[in-house]
Point group: C2
Chain length 371, copies 2
C-alpha cells in the first residue's frame, strides 16, 4: 500500500464589481474594450423571450458594432424554464454555433436568466466567464450577491447548481420601468425584508420614497439597489459556508415559501414572502421582540409596495401548516423561525443561532388568526 | 451611477490523498470512521451495471454494517452512459431517496463512473463531497489526478463538466484482475504514454515487467499506479490553467483521437492511442528527435501490452487525415503535434511551447505509409 499526496492549496480571487445605474449597455461595452474578460471576442448572450426584444437584442447589436462576435440564445420567459432541459438546449445550441472554451456568457434578464446562465457558464467547457446584466428589482435585490446559481427539478427548487461568481454585474435601473407592477412589487418584498432585518434607516427611506421608486425616480432606485447589495453582501461574507448567519436571509420565508407552494405558484415569490413577513411580525410580537406599532409599520410598508398582506381565500390553511415542515430550517422534525427584532434587527437566540424552534400550535394559531 | 465592490479573495485547499493498494474497501470504511468527510452519515454510492456486483454492492454492505446510511445508484456500463441524461436520472433518484446537501457521493468504477459522479457531486445541492474508488487501470493512470469531471454531448466529448477535486481517491489494484484484457491494455496505453513523455526508468520497468502486471503482480501494479499519479500530477500542478505544458499529456492523441472517432469507437481509447503513439514516434524520428531504435522500443512495448500498432484495414485513411483537424490543438487551421524526445522526454519548441505545427502533407505521408 502506498499513498500519494495531491497538494492543491491556492489563493482564489473571485472579487467582482456591481455597477448600479441607468442604461448601462454602453458601460458594458466600454468595460469589455477595457479588458473585463481579457482577450475574449466571442459572446453568448443568454436571455428570455420577454427580455429579448426589450434589452438583449440591443446589447447584441452593440457588441457586434464594437467588433465582437455575438449570438443570442433565447428561452421562454418564466420560472418553469429554469430547468436542466433548458440548460441542455442552450448548451447544444451554443455547441452547434461553434462556441467552445474561448467564449464569455452575458446573462440579460431577471433572476431566472442569471441563475440559469451562471450555472451553465460554470459547466460549459468546465467553466467560462459570465457577466450578469440584471433587469429586475429581484435580481438587483437578491440574485446579484452570493454566487448562487441553479435550476429547478420536479422534486426541488434550486437544488442542482453551483456557487459561481460573475466577472461583473450591471443593475440597470432603467429596465425596472418596463417591469409589470406585480414583478416590481415582488422584488420590493425582498427589499423590505432586507430593511427589516438590517437597516432601520433604509426602512424609513422606503416609507418615505415608495412612490418615487414605483415612479422610477433614479436616485431612490439607486439607493435601494445599493442598500440591497450591501446588506446581502454583509451577511454572505460573514457566512460563506451557509452556516448560521445566512439563515437570517430567510426572514419571513418559513410561512412565505409554504404559501407560495400551497398557492400552486399563483402567488409570486415576493407576494408570498410579504404574507410570510406579516406572519413573522406577529410571531415576533408574541415573543416580545416587536411592538404593536413596529408590526403595523411593516405591514403598512408592504401595503405601500402593493403587496398582499392577507392570506388569500383560496389557501387551505391546514395544508399551509403542514407545508411548513418542508422548510429547510426544520431540524429534528421541529419548525424553526428567524425572528425580527424591532425594525432593522434580528434576534440572536444563542451565539451564532438565528432561528428558534416554534411549537406547531403557535404557528397554527398565528396562521388561523391572520386575515 | 455607483459601484459596489464584492471582495471574494480566499485560500482554498483542495488537497487530497490517493491511496494505492490491494482491496481497499476496509480502508475506505476506516477513513470514514476517522472523519474523512466530517460528520456525514449518508452515502450515495454511484456505480455502473458491471461494477455493481463486482465491487459496489460489497462497499454498500460494508457502509451499512458500519452504521452508515448507504444507497446504491446504478447506470448502464459504458461510455454511452456518460451523458447529461444519466446525470439527471441519478440526481432524480437521489432526490427521490431523500438525499439533500448532507450527503457524500462515493464513485465506484472506472473513468466513466468517476467522471460522471464527480460532476454530479459538484452540482448536487451546489456541491457535496465525493470519493473515488477506482477499479480500472485507466482511472488509475489518468482519471484520478487533475480534477477533470465531465459528461459527453452529441456534439462534443467531455465538454460539459467541472473541475472538482475528490476528498480522496482509492486505486484498488485487486480490481484490475476482473478487468477484461482489452480494458487493461487500453489503460496501459496511457501508462506507456506517461513513461514515454517523462520517465525512462519507468519505460524500462514496463519493458521488464509487462507480463507481471498482466498477471496481477501486486508490486509491479503498485509501482505503475504510483508512477502514473506522479507524472500526471507533476504536469497538472505546473499548469493548472491548461496553458502550454498540459498539452504534453496529449502525446499520441492527435492521430489517436482521430482514429478513435473514425473507427466509430470500435477501437477503445487506449487502443487508438497506441496507434497514435506509433504515428507520433515516426514524426519524432523524421524531425530528428528519436532514433530508429527508440521508435522500435516504443512499438515493441505497445505490442507487449497487447495493443494494436497498425491502422486497422477498415479505417479510411483519407477520412483520418481530415479528422485530424478536429483536434483541440489545431490553431489557425494548422495541425499541431506534441513530440517525444528520445525515451522519457518531450520536445520544448520554444519556452513553454510543447506542440509544433506540422504540414498536412507530412501527417498524410506518415499515415499513408504506416502499416
Ligand atoms: N441566485 C440567487 O441568489 C437568487 C436570489 C433570489 C432569487 N433568485 C431566483 O430568481 C428568480 C426570480 O427572479 P425574477 O423575479 O427576476 O425572475 P424572472 O427572471 O423570471 O423575471 C420575472 C419576469 O419579468 C420579466 N422581465 C425581466 N426583466 C424585465 C424588464 N426589465 N421589463 C419587463 N419584463 C421583465 C421576465 O421575462 C419574467 O417574465 C427565481 O428563479 C429565484 O429562484 C435567485
Ligand atoms: N477525468 C479525467 O481526467 C479522465 C482521464 C482519462 C479518461 N477519462 C475518462 O475515463 C473514461 C474511460 O475510463 P475507463 O476505461 O475506466 O471506463 P469505464 O468506466 O467505462 O470502464 C471500462 C469498462 O470496464 C468495466 N469495469 C470497470 N472496472 C472493472 C473491473 N474492475 N472489472 C471488470 N470490469 C470493470 C466498466 O463497467 C466498463 O464497462 C472515459 O469516459 C474518459 O473520458 C477521464
Amino acid at each position: 500500500m502506498s499513498v500519494f499526496q495531491v497538494e492543491l492549496k491556492k489563493v482564489v480571487d473571485d472579487s467582482y464589481e456591481i455597477e448600479i445605474g441607468y442604461q448601462l449597455e454602453n458601460r458594458l461595452i466600454e468595460d469589455l474594450k477595457n479588458g473585463l474578460v481579457g482577450k475574449i471576442k466571442k459572446f453568448a448572450v443568454i436571455t428570455d423571450s420577454t427580455v429579448k426584444e426589450l434589452y438583449a437584442d440591443h446589447i447584441v447589436t452593440l457588441l457586434q458594432e464594437a467588433g465582437y462576435q455575438a449570438r443570442e440564445f433565447v428561452f421562454t420567459a418564466g420560472e418553469t424554464s429554469k430547468t436542466r432541459k433548458t440548460k441542455e438546449e442552450v448548451e447544444d445550441a451554443m455547441l452547434e454555433a461553434g462556441f467552445r472554451r474561448d467564449c464569455c456568457i452575458i446573462a440579460v434578464g431577471g433572476g431566472v436568466v442569471t441563475d440559469l446562465s451562471g450555472f451553465l457558464a460554470g459547466t460549459y467547457g468546465r467553466g467560462v466567464p459570465f457577466i450578469n446584466y440584471a433587469t429586475t428589482l429581484l435580481a438587483a435585490a437578491d440574485a446579484s450577491v452570493g454566487g448562487k446559481t441553479a435550476v429547478d427539478t420536479p422534486l426541488a427548487t434550486n437544488l442542482i447548481g453551483l456557487f459561481n461568481q460573475p466577472e461583473k454585474v450591471y443593475l440597470d435601473i432603467a429596465a425596472w420601468k418596463t417591469l409589470p407592477q406585480r414583478q416590481l412589487s415582488s422584488g420590493m418584498a425582498e427589499t423590505i425584508k432586507h430593511a427589516c432585518m438590517a437597516d432601520k434607516e433604509m426602512f424609513e427611506f422606503l416609507e418615505k420614497h415608495m412612490e418615487d421608486i414605483f415612479a422610477g425616480d433614479r436616485e431612490a432606485c439607486e439607493y435601494i439597489a445599493k442598500k440591497n447589495c450591501q446588506i446581502k453582501y454583509a451577511v454572505v461574507m460573514k457566512d460563506e459556508k451557509e452556516q448560521g448567519l445566512r439563515e437570517i436571509l430567510n426572514l419571513g420565508h418559513t410561512v412565505g415559501r409554504a404559501i407560495e407552494t400551497v398557492s400552486d405558484y399563483r402567488l409570486l415569490h415576493g407576494e408570498a414572502l410579504s404574507i410570510g413577513m406579516v406572519a413573522m411580525t406577529e410571531l415576533a410580537h408574541r415573543l416580545g421582540y416587536m411592538t404593536e406599532e413596529e408590526k403595523t409599520a411593516v405591514k403598512n410598508l408592504l401595503e405601500k409596495a402593493k403587496l398582499p398582506v392577507e392570506i388569500p381565500e383560496y389557501i387551505d390553511r391546514e395544508a399551509l401548516v403542514k407545508k411548513l415542515y418542508t422548510d429547510k430550517k426544520v431540524r429534528d422534525g421541529k419548525l424553526r423561525f428567524v425572528v425580527e427584532k424591532g425594525i432593522g434587527g434580528i434576534v440572536e437566540f444563542e451565539e451564532g443561532v438565528f432561528a428558534t424552534p416554534v411549537e406547531e400550535a403557535v404557528a397554527r394559531d398565528i396562521i388561523m388568526k391572520m386575515k
